[in-house]
């Protein structure tokens, strides 16, 4: 366990200057996907962090996952994630991927990454680090911030808040 965490930290360190990302659309409405494209274009230009998208999951250091994981894409998503070399780092982008989104309980989706996790477990595909990026769609800056959180450069700002009213 301890060993694994060290490995993960080391791997995160190794990719800090050069992060190759693979975009995995699991049935999203495209809004998050165009925001992902947006971070590559002049205004946000993530190449300034050494981030570069790749066409094959084999080359990927990080998977950008969008969409609620529809029933039809489910087997293919599992296959794609299996093809990613360890450590598998996943950024779940947008309300759909994080919590199933507006259609979280519809008949043809599996409710985002939480529903996917179960299927992945059954099929023996492990995810080493998963970071959630809420937003509908997640704005380009939020995606950049999410990558920073994943790499451990930024600390998550959001905390669970429970207030009791008497």
């Amino acid at each position: 366990m301890e060993n694994r965490r060290d490995n993960l930290l080391e791997a995160l360190k190794a990719i800090r200057r050069s992060i190759w990302v693979f975009h995995l659309n699991t049935g999203s409405c495209n809004a998050c996907d165009i925001e992902i494209l947006d971070v590559l274009t002049p205004y946000f230009d993530v190449e300034r962090f050494g981030i570069k998208p790749v066409a094959s999951p084999r080359h990927a250091d990080l998977v950008l996952m969008t969409g609620p994981v529809t029933r039809k894409t489910l087997p293919k998503v599992v296959n794609a994630l299996r093809a990613v070399p360890r450590p598998r780092l996943v950024l779940a982008i947008g309300a759909c991927a994080v919590g199933g989104g507006i259609w979280h309980d519809s008949y043809s989706v599996s409710g985002g990454v939480e529903g996917l996790k179960k299927v992945l477990e059954e099929n023996g595909v492990e995810i080493d680090k998963l970071v959630y990026v809420p937003g509908c769609p997640a704005r380009p800056e939020a995606i950049i911030y999410g990558v920073a959180v994943l790499l451990g450069i930024a600390k998550p700002k959001v905390k669970e808040e429970v207030v009791e009213v008497k």
Binding site: N79, Y107, S108
Partner: protein, 558 residues
């Protein structure tokens, strides 16, 4: 002010024509305000009716909605919505079917664009369509037989366990291309049947993004929540859907929407068109290997995204539409910013287009490729820039005016070549027209409230509404129910355009396929993957479109 009404004279003319030609089969012909002329025919005679309306009257098939009306009327029904562009009126043919074993004759040989609608009726409602091949189309392969999600006795959140078969599919790649798995990037694909480098046939294997939206809108949501759901049908032209939905409800319930709200809707629709066309032009450049064009188109587009956020509060999925009006007003400060931005966009865009159209590879590869002849365009009832590039002069904004479009004047660009370059030029012209429309709208913006005061939505009304999306005509069909739509049928523009790809891709070189597929501007992420099948050996190879077009992926350009 309700949606556009056809003139009395046109209406009478069409009604007289219908009574004359359909008199012997129609049970009734009546005008339903907010929807169109409703013609009821016996289910056995639907083919005759469609033949007369589609071929003799020259109307376009806009959508078909199958409805489970058993709880209300004890029947299944099918609504065929035709548009008579020249008279600005819809003709809705309805046929009622037996509640136990619903079936209806196929009309696909008369109107080829009915193909998908019939498959969908079969798949989601269990209506048998006689006289054609039926197969699983939208639902996943492991979905249980006999469970039809759009039927009223099926819960919206039913989740049958995925079968063992699909589990096997998970545990091994289905098509042996090594670790390169199918559907890695985007979840839709086309199957191109090729001989050598020549495409001989195309099959679309899609609907991976089917999220059960229509069912959700009919069950979990309320009238005022559906606009937010509708907006998420498509993340690129979502506002079109929310406008279309709210208009359909307003039409059905005859709600008076304040004029200022209509202007704001039109304004935001045009801003959305700007961003969408700029996005498309960028992606087209990228597909042609001209990444500088892609980057600069998106640089210009970014300003429209910031503008959209200023106007609505969100960069995408704006969320300002409600039945009866809009939620966010604009003020003088914002108007000034809008005008500044569109001026800037106009200048920069003109400069960029001049450069893009001078790049020899872009021009050479777009000219004469992916041709859609006019008669095929007509047969497939294609919409939007695809139709206009093939010489069909159709634009919902002019033919069925909605929101504030009857108050502004604009040109509808039409080209007759039908190739990829024509579709590019249509969109370039439309960007400039949109900017003009935005200026006119802001110039005439009326004062007043932005939300209707009375909102009463009676049950059992029919409403049809159409909006010209950046990709073409979007159409929503609604039957009102208690607290929420009883039936909500959405037909996105791409739905109408994809079947026409068969014609555009046939006999074309493989290298042109990506650009041609992209040229109909399907939500582009849906077009990323093709299966290439060798027509002679039936061998399947999966390749990504990106590679096909020799594009390393956006990454390699930075």
């Amino acid at each position: 002010m309700v949606d556009f009404e056809p003139s009395k004279q046109d209406l009478e003319e069409v009604r007289a024509q219908l009574t004359e030609k359909l008199g012997h089969i129609a049970r009734s012909v009546e005008y339903v305000p907010g929807a169109g002329i409703l013609v009821e025919v016996p289910v056995k005679r639907i083919r005759e009716a469609v033949k007369i309306i589609h071929n003799d009257l020259d109307a376009y098939l806009r959508t078909v909605a199958g409805v489970d009306e058993r709880p209300v009327k004890g029947v299944f029904s099918a609504y065929y919505v035709f548009g008579l562009d020249s008279k600005h009126v819809n003709i809705i043919v309805v046929a009622y079917m037996d509640s136990d074993k619903p079936s209806i004759p196929s009309v696909v040989d008369i109107a080829p664009s009915a193909d998908w609608y019939e498959l969908e009726m079969y798949d989601l409602l269990g209506i048998r369509v006689e006289g054609r091949r039926l197969y699983r189309f939208i639902l996943p392969e492991d979905w249980p037989e006999g469970l039809y999600p759009l039927r009223k006795d099926v819960a919206y959140n039913i989740r049958p366990e995925p079968s063992l078969r699909s589990r096997e599919a998970i545990s091994g790649p289905r098509i042996p291309v090594g670790p390169y798995h199918p559907a890695l990037h985007e979840p839709e694909y086309f199957e191109l049947y090729v001989e050598g480098e020549r495409v001989v046939d195309v099959r679309y294997n899609g609907f991976h993004v089917h999220r059960g939206i229509e069912k959700l809108g009919e069950s979990r949501f309320t009238y005022q929540q559906v606009p937010f759901l509708a907006e998420r049908i498509c993340g690129i032209c979502g506002f079109v859907h929310s406008v279309c939905y709210t208009q359909a409800v307003e039409n059905a319930a005859r709600i008076d929407v304040p004029e200022r709200a209509l202007y704001i809707r039109s304004l935001v629709l045009e801003v959305e068109r700007l961003h969408s066309h700029l996005l498309w032009i960028g992606v087209a450049c990228h597909l042609l290997g001209y990444d500088a064009g892609f980057m600069h188109a998106w640089r210009i587009r970014e300003k429209t995204m910031v503008l959209a956020e200023l106007l609505t509060g969100s960069r995408k999925t704006y969320g300002i539409n409600l039945v009866g009006g809009v939620r966010k007003d604009i003020n003088r400060d914002k108007i000034g910013k809008v005008l500044d931005t569109v001026k800037w966009v106009e200048d920069e865009f003109k400069k960029l287009v001049e450069v893009i159209t001078s790049v020899p590879q872009v021009v050479k590869r777009a000219t004469g490729t992916g041709i859609l002849p006019k008669h095929d365009a007509r047969a497939y009832s294609v919409v939007g820039p695809v139709a206009r590039a093939s010489g069909l002069n159709r634009d919902v904004r002019r033919d069925y005016p909605y929101a504030a479009y009857k108050e502004v004047s604009f040109k509808v660009p039409v080209y007759s070549e039908g190739d990829n370059l024509a579709r590019l030029l249509v969109r370039v012209d439309e960007v400039l027209e949109s900017i003009e429309i935005i200026r006119q709208l802001l110039d005439q913006l009326p004062q007043g409230p932005i939300m209707a005061e009375e909102l009463e939505i009676p049950e059992g009304r029919i409403g049809v509404s159409s909006v010209e999306a950046p990709r073409g005509e979007d159409i929503h069909f609604i039957i009102t129910g208690k607290g929420r739509p009883y039936r909500w049928r959405v037909r996105a523009p791409t739905y109408q355009n994809i079947p026409a790809l068969k014609v555009m891709l046939k006999d074309a070189p493989l290298a042109d396929a990506p650009l041609t597929i992209a040229s109909i501007d399907p939500c582009f992420s849906c077009t990323d993957r093709v299966v290439v099948v060798d027509a002679r050996t039936r061998k399947r190879r999966i390749i990504s479109l990106r590679k096909l077009s020799k594009i390393n992926c956006i990454g390699c350009l930075i």
